[in-house]
Amino acid sequence: MNDAVVELNNLKKYFIINKGFKEKKLVVKAVDDVTLTINKGEIVGLVGESGSGKTTLARVLLNLTKPTDSHVIFNGINLSKAKRKEIKKFRTEVAVVFQDPASNLNPRDTVMRSITRPLILHGMPKKLAKEKAIETLELVKMDIRYLNSYPHQLSGGQLQRIAIARALVLEPKVMILDEPTSALDISVQAQILNLLIDLQEKFKLTYLVITHDLNVIRYISDRVAVMYLGKLVEYGPTEEVINNPKHPYTMGLMAASPILNPHDRNKEKHIMQGDPGSLINLPSGCHFHPRCPYATERCINEAPANLILDSHQVACFKYENMKISECID
């Protein structure tokens, strides 16, 4: 169980904004010092507000952009130094499903063409590819009569199934799902979530699920990573992170997350004030200190390092010199 599929060590991805000829160049630290390991066969949820660098992290993982510092290690292979052949193999092993399926499927391609395309690109004969496409469509519980449909003829839930089928067709080991259900209605969301879990269990897949919906994360993932302004602030087993969050930001996020039971509404909760802030104008020290109720002088001047407490990883001064057993209150 404990084989790392994806390893990141102090990964950084900076973007440079050139504001003009004479202006100073700005550095946007979209992903800053992220250390994270994803093990084989686990579902990791990645949460954070918009602009926290979730999608940039996914793009770096997918090797769609190169990291500024450090590397992505996938199955023991360093992607920055990988050979062409290794990259090609990597492309079959990692698949991605994006948020809005309607804009990711070619409107002029039939379902069949969309699904067989990756197979043909990787050298499978057309006839075999078609058989494989039918097989995959059955896996995602779609009727094969939709094979010759175009995307505009399908509903949102059906399109998401097609997107999942297209991702699955190369038999990947890792799937990155960027907001897989946020464009869908509740009943369809339930169908897609169930489907994703069934597929994961059947093929022992590894998922990285990016979402802002904590209820979805709680349902689907084994571990949760929380990002805030480019930093990974907390990473640990889902139950611990949701029920006993360590980082003040995670606490605020949990309090803000909509309850799904009206009987809980009178429970006292602390609502985080202020805006998420922007990556262009980063606060000094700990990025969270302007919104943090526990902020001290030190937080303003110094950025906390990642503390590793048993299975839990947290970036906050509060937990220095503590073992996880002492933190549980």
Binding site: E49, S50, S155, D185, I186, S187, V188, Q189, A190, Q191, L193, N194, I197, H212, D213, L214, N215, V216, R218, Y219, I220, T238, E239, G252, L253, A255, A256, S257, P258, I259, L260, N261, P262, H263, D264, R265, I271, M272, Q273, G274, D275, P276
Partner: protein
């Protein structure tokens, strides 16, 4: 409490489409009382926004047939002339939309746009501007003076929605229609906006009609809820009735489809099938093709409304004999 503000009675809205009519809202009746938060939930295409637009007559002209009554403060505003309705829009009934960027003019400062509404009531410019700053403080906008001079593109999504709320508040309407007010926002900002809406109700006694697809919001703030499916209100009741004791099969399934568990505890409930085409005439229940309890009668006869208690009612053939 218990004073009626808005009452819809047998409202029907049909859209004219290429080959006939699409029945977007069918026989909808409900009452919103003073000072309550009434939520309308349903999946996309169920007609919840159509209702909101019908109340304020914002639907595109000559494209629909509206039948039924909309009583606001005892008067049927559906029979009002355009001019009479003008006096209600904004002043008596305010509305905020999903995407504030679509509702704000990009070439004017936000403060000016809010002041514009205030000046409709014959207020001087200076006074209007002072009111804008006060309103910005009311909606917890940090740095109110500076923000009033900002253009919409200079503000974040949460701040833009605050501008919309300030604009709506400017004329202290009795009813606020909020159409998916937080869908485009982050959860932390969503919680802040919800708090503002709650505070509005508590401080000014404003009634709120909250239109959403998010059951989380409903559980968080609503007093009473109407669940819509394919143009019909299938069930309505207090928020506790709907969450603890749903009666209609659709509500039952939907509540079970919410991700409230973890995957080790089991799978989520799903609802198979799709919404029927509303351009076709459906003589029976509109949920019949997806309902696990469907009977023969469901296909033929439109179910009648059954009442459980004063607030709680639903539309289903079941229960005639016994429990589900």
């Amino acid at each position: 409490m218990s004073e009626e503000l808005l009452r819809l009675k047998n409202l029907y809205v049909d859209y004219k489409v290429k080959d006939g009519y699409l029945s977007a809202v069918k026989n909808v009746s409900f009452t919103i009382e003073k000072g309550e938060i009434y939520a309308i939930v349903g999946e996309s295409g169920c007609g919840k926004s159509t209702i909101a637009h019908t109340i304020l007559r914002l639907l595109p002209d000559h494209n629909e047939i509206i039948k039924g009554n909309i009583f606001f403060n005892g008067e049927d505003i559906n029979k009002f002339t355009e001019k009479q309705l003008e006096s209600i829009r904004g002043k008596e009934i305010g509305m905020i939309f999903q995407n504030p960027l679509d509702s704000l003019n990009p070439v004017y400062t936000t403060g000016f746009q809010v002041a514009e509404g205030i000046m409709l009531d014959n207020v001087t410019k200076e006074e209007a501007w002072n009111r804008v700053i006060k309103l910005y403080n009311d909606v917890k906008m940090s740095d109110a003076e500076k923000r009033a001079e900002s253009f919409p593109h200079e503000l974040s999504g949460g701040m833009r929605q605050r501008v919309m709320i300030a604009m709506m508040l400017a004329r202290t309407p009795k009813l606020l229609i909020a159409d998916e007010p937080t869908t485009a926002l982050d959860v932390t900002i969503e919680a802040q906006i919800l708090n503002i809406i709650k505070k509005l109700r508590d401080d000014f006694g404003t009634s709120v009609m909250l239109i959403t697809h998010n059951f989380g919001l409903v559980a968080e703030v609503a007093d009473r809820v109407a669940v819509m499916y394919a143009g019909e209100v299938v069930e309505q009741g207090t928020v506790y009735d709907i969450f603890d004791n749903p009666k209609h099969p659709y509500t039952k399934l939907l509540i079970k489809a919410l991700p409230r568990i973890t995957k080790t505890e089991g799978r989520l409930q799903t609802i198979d099938g799709t919404v029927p085409r509303l351009t076709e005439i459906i003589p029976g229940c509109r949920f019949e093709n997806r309902c696990p309890y469907a009977m023969d009668i469901c296909k033929e006869k439109d179910p009648e409304i059954k009442t459980v208690n004063k607030f709680h009612s639903y539309r289903c053939h079941l229960h005639e004999g016994g429990e589900i």
